[in-house]
Protein backbone atom coordinates (compact mmCIF):
# COMPACT_ATOMS: atom_id res chain seq x y z
CA UNK A 1 0.00 0.00 0.00
CA UNK A 2 1.34 3.39 -0.93
CA UNK A 3 2.26 5.37 2.10
CA UNK A 4 2.65 9.09 2.14
CA UNK A 5 6.28 9.92 2.81
CA UNK A 6 6.18 13.58 1.91
CA UNK A 7 5.70 14.76 5.47
CA UNK A 8 7.28 11.82 7.16
CA UNK A 9 10.94 12.79 6.92
CA UNK A 10 11.81 16.17 8.39
CA UNK A 11 15.57 15.98 8.15
CA UNK A 12 18.11 14.29 5.91
CA UNK A 13 21.73 14.21 7.10
CA UNK A 14 24.42 13.24 4.61
CA UNK A 15 28.00 12.49 5.61
CA UNK A 16 30.97 11.90 3.36
CA UNK A 17 34.73 12.05 3.19
CA UNK A 18 37.33 11.25 0.55
CA UNK A 19 35.72 10.22 -2.73
CA UNK A 20 32.18 11.32 -1.84
CA UNK A 21 31.88 14.69 -3.54
CA UNK A 22 30.52 13.47 -6.89
CA UNK A 23 27.81 11.38 -5.25
CA UNK A 24 27.00 14.24 -2.91
CA UNK A 25 26.52 16.61 -5.86
CA UNK A 26 24.35 14.07 -7.62
CA UNK A 27 22.17 13.59 -4.55
CA UNK A 28 21.68 17.32 -4.20
CA UNK A 29 20.90 17.69 -7.91
CA UNK A 30 18.15 15.05 -7.59
CA UNK A 31 16.46 16.38 -4.45
CA UNK A 32 12.75 17.06 -4.87
CA UNK A 33 12.29 20.81 -5.18
CA UNK A 34 9.20 20.99 -3.01
CA UNK A 35 10.37 18.74 -0.22
CA UNK A 36 9.43 20.01 3.24
CA UNK A 37 12.52 18.32 4.68
CA UNK A 38 15.71 20.11 5.70
CA UNK A 39 19.07 18.79 4.54
CA UNK A 40 22.38 18.83 6.35
CA UNK A 41 25.66 18.03 4.63
CA UNK A 42 28.78 17.14 6.56
CA UNK A 43 31.77 16.70 4.26
CA UNK A 44 35.35 16.35 5.45
CA UNK A 45 37.61 18.81 3.70
CA UNK A 46 40.82 20.68 4.20
CA UNK A 47 40.46 23.07 7.10
CA UNK A 48 41.15 26.75 6.78
CA UNK A 49 40.12 26.94 3.13
CA UNK A 50 37.16 29.18 2.33
CA UNK A 51 34.25 26.93 1.46
CA UNK A 52 33.83 26.39 -2.25
CA UNK A 53 31.56 23.46 -1.44
CA UNK A 54 28.53 25.67 -0.87
CA UNK A 55 28.92 27.24 -4.30
CA UNK A 56 29.38 23.85 -5.96
CA UNK A 57 26.20 22.54 -4.34
CA UNK A 58 24.22 25.67 -5.09
CA UNK A 59 25.01 25.17 -8.76
CA UNK A 60 23.20 21.85 -8.73
CA UNK A 61 19.87 22.75 -7.17
CA UNK A 62 17.17 25.38 -6.90
CA UNK A 63 16.94 24.82 -3.16
CA UNK A 64 18.76 27.42 -1.05
CA UNK A 65 22.19 26.24 0.12
CA UNK A 66 23.66 27.83 3.25
CA UNK A 67 26.91 27.68 5.14
CA UNK A 68 25.55 27.40 8.68
CA UNK A 69 25.88 30.30 11.10
CA UNK A 70 25.52 29.82 14.83
CA UNK A 71 21.91 29.70 16.16
CA UNK A 72 20.46 29.74 12.66
CA UNK A 73 16.93 28.27 12.56
CA UNK A 74 16.54 24.97 10.69
CA UNK A 75 14.11 25.73 7.86
CA UNK A 76 12.33 23.29 5.55
CA UNK A 77 13.43 22.96 1.94
CA UNK A 78 16.89 24.25 2.73
CA UNK A 79 20.32 22.64 2.38
CA UNK A 80 22.75 23.39 5.19
CA UNK A 81 26.49 22.81 4.96
CA UNK A 82 28.55 22.19 8.09
CA UNK A 83 31.21 24.91 7.99
CA UNK A 84 34.93 24.11 7.90
CA UNK A 85 36.57 23.81 11.28
CA UNK A 86 33.38 23.64 13.34
CA UNK A 87 31.30 20.76 14.62
CA UNK A 88 27.65 21.21 13.73
CA UNK A 89 25.05 20.37 16.38
CA UNK A 90 21.27 20.57 16.46
CA UNK A 91 19.34 22.04 19.37
CA UNK A 92 15.89 21.17 20.69
CA UNK A 93 14.45 24.49 19.54
CA UNK A 94 15.34 23.54 15.94
CA UNK A 95 18.33 25.80 15.61
CA UNK A 96 21.90 24.90 14.82
CA UNK A 97 24.75 25.46 17.20
CA UNK A 98 28.44 25.26 16.46
CA UNK A 99 31.35 24.03 18.48
CA UNK A 100 35.13 24.18 18.01
CA UNK A 101 35.98 21.42 20.46
CA UNK A 102 38.59 18.78 19.67
CA UNK A 103 38.41 16.88 16.40
CA UNK A 104 36.60 13.55 16.28
CA UNK A 105 38.27 10.94 14.06
CA UNK A 106 40.70 13.68 13.03
CA UNK A 107 37.76 15.61 11.64
CA UNK A 108 35.99 18.87 12.30
CA UNK A 109 33.24 18.94 11.22
CA UNK A 110 32.71 15.38 12.36
CA UNK A 111 29.89 13.31 10.89
CA UNK A 112 29.40 11.44 14.18
CA UNK A 113 28.87 14.67 16.10
CA UNK A 114 26.12 15.93 13.81
CA UNK A 115 24.42 12.56 13.36
CA UNK A 116 24.46 11.76 17.09
CA UNK A 117 23.02 15.17 17.84
CA UNK A 118 20.24 14.84 15.22
CA UNK A 119 19.24 11.25 16.05
CA UNK A 120 17.44 11.76 19.40
CA UNK A 121 15.78 14.97 18.20
CA UNK A 122 14.33 13.73 14.91
CA UNK A 123 13.97 10.02 15.71
CA UNK A 124 12.01 8.28 12.91
CA UNK A 125 11.67 11.50 10.95
CA UNK A 126 15.38 11.36 10.17
CA UNK A 127 17.20 9.92 7.18
CA UNK A 128 20.95 9.33 7.54
CA UNK A 129 23.21 8.72 4.53
CA UNK A 130 26.87 7.73 4.75
CA UNK A 131 29.12 7.82 1.69
CA UNK A 132 32.68 7.07 0.64
CA UNK A 133 35.63 7.80 2.93
CA UNK A 134 38.92 6.60 4.35
CA UNK A 135 38.01 7.27 7.95
CA UNK A 136 35.85 5.67 10.66
CA UNK A 137 33.82 8.85 11.24
CA UNK A 138 30.06 8.43 10.75
CA UNK A 139 29.75 4.82 11.88
CA UNK A 140 28.68 5.65 15.44
CA UNK A 141 26.44 8.39 14.11
CA UNK A 142 24.65 5.98 11.75
CA UNK A 143 24.25 3.54 14.58
CA UNK A 144 22.64 6.25 16.72
CA UNK A 145 20.23 7.16 13.91
CA UNK A 146 19.22 3.51 13.53
CA UNK A 147 18.76 3.12 17.29
CA UNK A 148 16.40 6.10 17.36
CA UNK A 149 14.30 4.66 14.56
CA UNK A 150 15.67 6.73 11.68
CA UNK A 151 16.07 5.49 8.11
CA UNK A 152 19.69 4.69 7.21
CA UNK A 153 21.33 4.43 3.79
CA UNK A 154 24.94 3.32 3.46
CA UNK A 155 26.84 3.46 0.20
CA UNK A 156 27.81 -0.02 -0.92
CA UNK A 157 31.50 -0.18 0.06
CA UNK A 158 32.48 -2.02 -3.18
CA UNK A 159 31.09 0.76 -5.31
CA UNK A 160 32.51 3.60 -3.21
CA UNK A 161 35.72 5.27 -4.31
CA UNK A 162 37.00 4.44 -0.82
CA UNK A 163 34.93 1.79 0.90
CA UNK A 164 36.46 2.03 4.37
CA UNK A 165 34.01 4.51 5.89
CA UNK A 166 30.75 2.86 4.80
CA UNK A 167 32.22 -0.53 5.74
CA UNK A 168 32.97 0.71 9.25
CA UNK A 169 29.30 1.62 9.64
CA UNK A 170 28.10 -1.71 8.27
CA UNK A 171 30.36 -3.48 10.76
CA UNK A 172 28.44 -2.06 13.70
CA UNK A 173 24.90 -1.44 12.45
CA UNK A 174 22.28 -2.85 10.10
CA UNK A 175 21.43 -0.21 7.48
CA UNK A 176 17.89 0.14 6.12
CA UNK A 177 19.48 0.16 2.67
CA UNK A 178 22.95 -0.50 1.26
CA UNK A 179 23.02 1.05 -2.20
CA UNK A 180 25.31 1.64 -5.12
CA UNK A 181 26.43 5.27 -5.12
CA UNK A 182 24.52 5.94 -8.32
CA UNK A 183 21.27 4.57 -6.89
CA UNK A 184 21.26 6.70 -3.77
CA UNK A 185 20.08 9.95 -5.32
CA UNK A 186 17.23 8.24 -7.14
CA UNK A 187 16.22 6.30 -4.08
CA UNK A 188 16.27 9.37 -1.85
CA UNK A 189 14.19 11.31 -4.35
CA UNK A 190 11.58 8.54 -4.25
CA UNK A 191 11.76 8.24 -0.49
CA UNK A 192 10.93 11.92 -0.08
CA UNK A 193 8.22 11.92 -2.73
CA UNK A 194 4.56 11.10 -2.38
CA UNK A 195 4.61 7.44 -3.30
CA UNK A 196 6.46 4.67 -1.56
CA UNK A 197 9.57 4.08 -3.64
CA UNK A 198 9.84 0.94 -5.67
CA UNK A 199 11.24 -1.86 -3.63
CA UNK A 200 10.83 -0.08 -0.33
CA UNK A 201 9.26 -2.34 2.24
CA UNK A 202 9.82 -0.35 5.32
Amino acid sequence: MAQNNVDRYKLVVIGGSAGSLDIMLRIVADLPIHSPASFVIVLHRKSGQPSVLTALLADKTKLPVKDVEDKEPILPGTIYVAPCDYHLLLEEDHTFSLDVSEKVHYSRPSIDVTFESAAPLYKDALVGILLSGANADGAEGMKAIAQHGGFTIVQQPDTAEIGYMPQQALNIMAASRVLDGLEISHFLHELLSAETPTGLHH
Binding site: S97, L98, D99, V100, E102
Partner: protein, 270 residues
Protein backbone atom coordinates in the same frame (compact mmCIF):
# COMPACT_ATOMS: atom_id res chain seq x y z
CA UNK B 1 24.51 10.12 25.88
CA UNK B 2 23.73 11.65 29.24
CA UNK B 3 20.05 12.18 30.07
CA UNK B 4 18.58 15.69 30.22
CA UNK B 5 17.66 15.42 33.89
CA UNK B 6 21.19 14.35 34.79
CA UNK B 7 22.66 17.23 32.83
CA UNK B 8 20.36 19.65 34.64
CA UNK B 9 21.27 18.15 37.99
CA UNK B 10 24.98 18.63 37.30
CA UNK B 11 24.37 22.22 36.20
CA UNK B 12 22.46 22.91 39.44
CA UNK B 13 25.22 21.44 41.61
CA UNK B 14 27.96 23.40 39.86
CA UNK B 15 26.03 26.56 40.50
CA UNK B 16 24.96 25.97 44.10
CA UNK B 17 28.34 24.61 45.21
CA UNK B 18 30.75 26.73 43.23
CA UNK B 19 28.83 29.60 41.63
CA UNK B 20 29.61 28.57 38.05
CA UNK B 21 26.44 29.04 36.01
CA UNK B 22 26.23 26.83 32.91
CA UNK B 23 22.43 26.90 32.74
CA UNK B 24 22.36 29.06 29.63
CA UNK B 25 25.03 27.18 27.75
CA UNK B 26 23.93 25.58 24.46
CA UNK B 27 22.69 22.16 25.52
CA UNK B 28 23.83 20.01 22.60
CA UNK B 29 27.43 21.05 23.03
CA UNK B 30 27.41 20.89 26.84
CA UNK B 31 25.98 17.37 26.71
CA UNK B 32 28.94 16.32 24.56
CA UNK B 33 31.37 17.90 27.01
CA UNK B 34 29.91 15.92 29.91
CA UNK B 35 30.01 12.70 27.89
CA UNK B 36 33.59 13.34 26.97
CA UNK B 37 34.55 14.05 30.56
CA UNK B 38 32.99 10.75 31.60
CA UNK B 39 34.94 8.85 28.95
CA UNK B 40 38.29 10.57 29.45
CA UNK B 41 38.18 10.42 33.24
CA UNK B 42 36.62 6.96 33.19
CA UNK B 43 33.50 7.42 35.21
CA UNK B 44 31.45 4.22 35.02
CA UNK B 45 28.23 6.15 35.65
CA UNK B 46 26.85 9.65 35.88
CA UNK B 47 26.28 9.16 39.63
CA UNK B 48 30.00 8.75 40.15
CA UNK B 49 30.82 11.89 38.21
CA UNK B 50 28.28 13.81 40.27
CA UNK B 51 29.71 12.39 43.50
CA UNK B 52 33.22 13.49 42.53
CA UNK B 53 32.03 16.98 41.64
CA UNK B 54 30.28 17.32 45.00
CA UNK B 55 33.04 15.87 47.17
CA UNK B 56 36.20 17.11 45.50
CA UNK B 57 36.44 20.89 45.03
CA UNK B 58 39.82 20.46 43.31
CA UNK B 59 38.14 18.50 40.57
CA UNK B 60 36.11 21.59 39.67
CA UNK B 61 39.08 23.07 37.79
CA UNK B 62 39.08 20.03 35.58
CA UNK B 63 35.33 20.27 34.94
CA UNK B 64 35.54 23.95 34.03
CA UNK B 65 38.48 23.21 31.76
CA UNK B 66 36.56 20.50 29.92
CA UNK B 67 33.34 22.54 29.71
CA UNK B 68 34.99 25.61 28.30
CA UNK B 69 36.61 24.75 25.05
CA UNK B 70 40.04 26.22 24.55
CA UNK B 71 40.85 25.84 20.88
CA UNK B 72 42.54 28.87 19.40
CA UNK B 73 45.41 29.77 17.11
CA UNK B 74 47.50 32.80 16.16
CA UNK B 75 46.07 34.93 13.36
CA UNK B 76 43.15 32.52 13.08
CA UNK B 77 41.08 33.72 10.07
CA UNK B 78 43.95 35.71 8.51
CA UNK B 79 41.56 37.79 6.38
CA UNK B 80 40.05 39.16 9.57
CA UNK B 81 43.45 40.21 10.88
CA UNK B 82 44.28 41.81 7.55
CA UNK B 83 41.13 43.92 7.89
CA UNK B 84 42.08 44.88 11.43
CA UNK B 85 45.53 45.85 10.17
CA UNK B 86 44.28 47.85 7.21
CA UNK B 87 40.93 49.25 8.34
CA UNK B 88 40.54 49.14 12.12
CA UNK B 89 44.00 50.11 13.37
CA UNK B 90 44.22 53.31 11.28
CA UNK B 91 41.01 54.45 13.00
CA UNK B 92 42.19 53.51 16.48
CA UNK B 93 45.56 55.14 15.79
CA UNK B 94 43.95 58.58 15.88
CA UNK B 95 43.01 58.14 19.53
CA UNK B 96 45.30 59.07 22.41
CA UNK B 97 44.90 55.67 24.01
CA UNK B 98 43.78 52.24 22.75
CA UNK B 99 42.04 49.77 25.05
CA UNK B 100 41.33 46.29 23.69
CA UNK B 101 39.43 43.50 25.42
CA UNK B 102 39.92 39.87 24.44
CA UNK B 103 36.88 38.28 26.11
CA UNK B 104 37.14 34.52 26.51
CA UNK B 105 40.69 34.55 25.17
CA UNK B 106 41.56 30.99 26.24
CA UNK B 107 45.32 30.41 26.02
CA UNK B 108 45.99 33.82 24.51
CA UNK B 109 47.15 33.19 20.94
CA UNK B 110 44.83 35.94 19.74
CA UNK B 111 46.20 38.42 22.29
CA UNK B 112 49.76 37.84 21.09
CA UNK B 113 48.60 38.17 17.47
CA UNK B 114 47.08 41.52 18.32
CA UNK B 115 50.18 42.69 20.20
CA UNK B 116 52.23 41.89 17.09
CA UNK B 117 49.85 43.90 14.89
CA UNK B 118 49.99 46.84 17.28
CA UNK B 119 53.75 46.77 17.41
CA UNK B 120 54.03 46.69 13.64
CA UNK B 121 51.67 49.67 13.45
CA UNK B 122 53.81 51.40 16.07
CA UNK B 123 50.82 51.60 18.42
CA UNK B 124 51.72 49.13 21.14
CA UNK B 125 53.21 51.84 23.38
CA UNK B 126 49.81 53.53 23.75
CA UNK B 127 47.71 50.37 23.96
CA UNK B 128 46.44 48.10 26.70
CA UNK B 129 45.29 44.58 25.95
CA UNK B 130 42.92 43.11 28.52
CA UNK B 131 42.88 39.33 28.25
CA UNK B 132 40.16 37.56 30.21
CA UNK B 133 38.85 34.05 30.46
CA UNK B 134 36.59 32.09 32.78
CA UNK B 135 39.19 29.39 33.20
CA UNK B 136 42.03 30.33 35.59
CA UNK B 137 44.40 27.62 34.39
CA UNK B 138 44.54 28.61 30.73
CA UNK B 139 45.24 32.26 31.35
CA UNK B 140 48.44 31.36 33.18
CA UNK B 141 49.68 30.46 29.74
CA UNK B 142 49.28 34.03 28.55
CA UNK B 143 51.61 35.28 31.22
CA UNK B 144 54.23 32.73 30.23
CA UNK B 145 53.94 33.46 26.51
CA UNK B 146 55.06 29.97 25.58
CA UNK B 147 53.37 28.10 22.74
CA UNK B 148 54.03 24.74 21.06
CA UNK B 149 56.73 24.87 18.40
CA UNK B 150 54.69 22.46 16.27
CA UNK B 151 52.17 25.25 15.60
CA UNK B 152 54.64 27.83 14.37
CA UNK B 153 54.54 26.80 10.73
CA UNK B 154 50.77 27.34 10.63
CA UNK B 155 50.99 30.60 12.59
CA UNK B 156 53.69 31.87 10.29
CA UNK B 157 51.52 31.13 7.25
CA UNK B 158 48.54 32.82 8.91
CA UNK B 159 50.71 35.81 9.77
CA UNK B 160 51.83 36.26 6.17
CA UNK B 161 48.23 35.91 4.91
CA UNK B 162 47.22 38.61 7.40
CA UNK B 163 49.61 41.01 5.68
CA UNK B 164 52.63 40.48 7.93
CA UNK B 165 55.91 41.56 6.37
CA UNK B 166 58.42 40.50 9.02
CA UNK B 167 60.04 37.15 9.56
CA UNK B 168 57.54 35.63 11.99
CA UNK B 169 60.26 33.69 13.78
CA UNK B 170 61.80 36.98 14.89
CA UNK B 171 58.99 37.24 17.45
CA UNK B 172 59.97 34.17 19.42
CA UNK B 173 62.90 32.12 20.65
CA UNK B 174 62.72 28.42 19.93
CA UNK B 175 63.68 26.01 22.66
CA UNK B 176 63.13 22.31 22.09
CA UNK B 177 59.38 21.88 21.46
CA UNK B 178 58.45 25.36 22.60
CA UNK B 179 58.42 28.87 21.26
CA UNK B 180 58.78 31.64 23.81
CA UNK B 181 57.43 34.95 22.58
CA UNK B 182 59.31 38.17 23.10
CA UNK B 183 58.79 39.74 26.55
CA UNK B 184 58.09 43.15 25.06
CA UNK B 185 54.85 41.85 23.51
CA UNK B 186 53.33 41.20 26.91
CA UNK B 187 54.29 44.45 28.59
CA UNK B 188 50.88 45.88 27.66
CA UNK B 189 48.79 42.85 28.55
CA UNK B 190 46.53 42.72 31.59
CA UNK B 191 45.41 39.20 32.35
CA UNK B 192 42.47 38.30 34.60
CA UNK B 193 39.67 35.83 35.10
CA UNK B 194 36.30 37.12 34.03
CA UNK B 195 33.05 35.25 33.71
CA UNK B 196 30.87 36.61 30.92
CA UNK B 197 27.85 34.93 32.50
CA UNK B 198 28.06 36.64 35.87
CA UNK B 199 30.64 39.45 35.80
CA UNK B 200 30.07 43.00 34.68
CA UNK B 201 31.80 45.39 32.39
CA UNK B 202 35.02 46.78 33.83
CA UNK B 203 36.12 49.45 31.36
CA UNK B 204 35.45 51.14 28.01
CA UNK B 205 37.17 49.75 24.97
CA UNK B 206 37.87 50.76 21.40
CA UNK B 207 37.94 47.15 20.26
CA UNK B 208 36.46 43.98 21.73
CA UNK B 209 37.26 40.48 20.54
CA UNK B 210 34.97 37.61 21.45
CA UNK B 211 35.46 34.84 18.93
CA UNK B 212 33.98 31.38 19.15
CA UNK B 213 32.76 31.94 22.68
CA UNK B 214 29.14 32.91 22.04
CA UNK B 215 28.57 29.67 20.13
CA UNK B 216 28.60 27.87 23.49
CA UNK B 217 25.76 30.04 24.83
CA UNK B 218 22.04 29.84 24.15
CA UNK B 219 20.31 32.77 22.47
CA UNK B 220 19.21 34.33 25.74
CA UNK B 221 22.73 34.40 27.18
CA UNK B 222 24.19 35.53 23.85
CA UNK B 223 21.90 38.51 23.96
CA UNK B 224 22.95 39.40 27.50
CA UNK B 225 26.64 39.15 26.70
CA UNK B 226 26.27 41.20 23.52
CA UNK B 227 24.54 43.88 25.59
CA UNK B 228 27.50 43.77 27.97
CA UNK B 229 29.83 44.33 25.00
CA UNK B 230 27.68 47.18 23.74
CA UNK B 231 27.90 48.94 27.09
CA UNK B 232 31.66 48.29 27.22
CA UNK B 233 32.41 49.79 23.80
CA UNK B 234 33.28 53.38 23.12
CA UNK B 235 31.21 55.19 20.55
CA UNK B 236 32.40 54.05 17.08
CA UNK B 237 34.25 51.16 18.70
CA UNK B 238 34.64 47.77 17.03
CA UNK B 239 33.29 44.36 17.97
CA UNK B 240 34.92 41.24 16.49
CA UNK B 241 33.16 37.83 16.53
CA UNK B 242 34.01 34.34 15.25
CA UNK B 243 33.80 33.31 11.59
CA UNK B 244 30.31 31.75 11.88
CA UNK B 245 28.85 34.08 14.52
CA UNK B 246 26.47 36.97 13.94
CA UNK B 247 24.69 39.70 15.90
CA UNK B 248 21.82 39.60 13.39
CA UNK B 249 19.29 38.00 15.75
CA UNK B 250 20.29 39.96 18.85
CA UNK B 251 18.91 43.09 20.52
CA UNK B 252 22.00 45.16 19.70
CA UNK B 253 21.84 44.52 15.93
CA UNK B 254 20.36 47.96 15.19
CA UNK B 255 23.17 49.82 16.95
CA UNK B 256 25.96 48.24 14.95
CA UNK B 257 27.01 48.07 11.33
CA UNK B 258 29.10 45.29 9.85
CA UNK B 259 32.17 46.34 7.84
CA UNK B 260 31.60 46.33 4.08
CA UNK B 261 33.96 43.46 3.33
CA UNK B 262 31.74 41.16 5.45
CA UNK B 263 34.48 40.14 7.85
CA UNK B 264 32.98 39.53 11.28
CA UNK B 265 33.67 43.04 12.50
CA UNK B 266 30.87 45.37 13.59
CA UNK B 267 31.16 49.06 14.33
CA UNK B 268 29.05 50.69 17.01
CA UNK B 269 27.24 53.48 15.23
CA UNK B 270 24.96 54.74 18.03
Amino acid sequence: MIRDEDLNLLIEELFSLYGYDFSNYAKASLRRRVNRLMVVDRFPSFAELLHRVKRDPDYLTRVVEEFTVNVTEMFRDPGLFRTIRETVLPVLATRPFIRIWHAGCATGEEVYSMAILLEEANLLHKSLLYATDLNPSVIENIKRGIFPMSQMKLYSENYILSGGKQDFSSYYTAKYDWAKFDERLKTKMIVATHNLVSDRSFNEFGLIFCRNVLIYFDKHLQDRVLTLFDSSLEKLGFLVLGARENIRFSGIAGKFRQLDNKEKIWRKIM
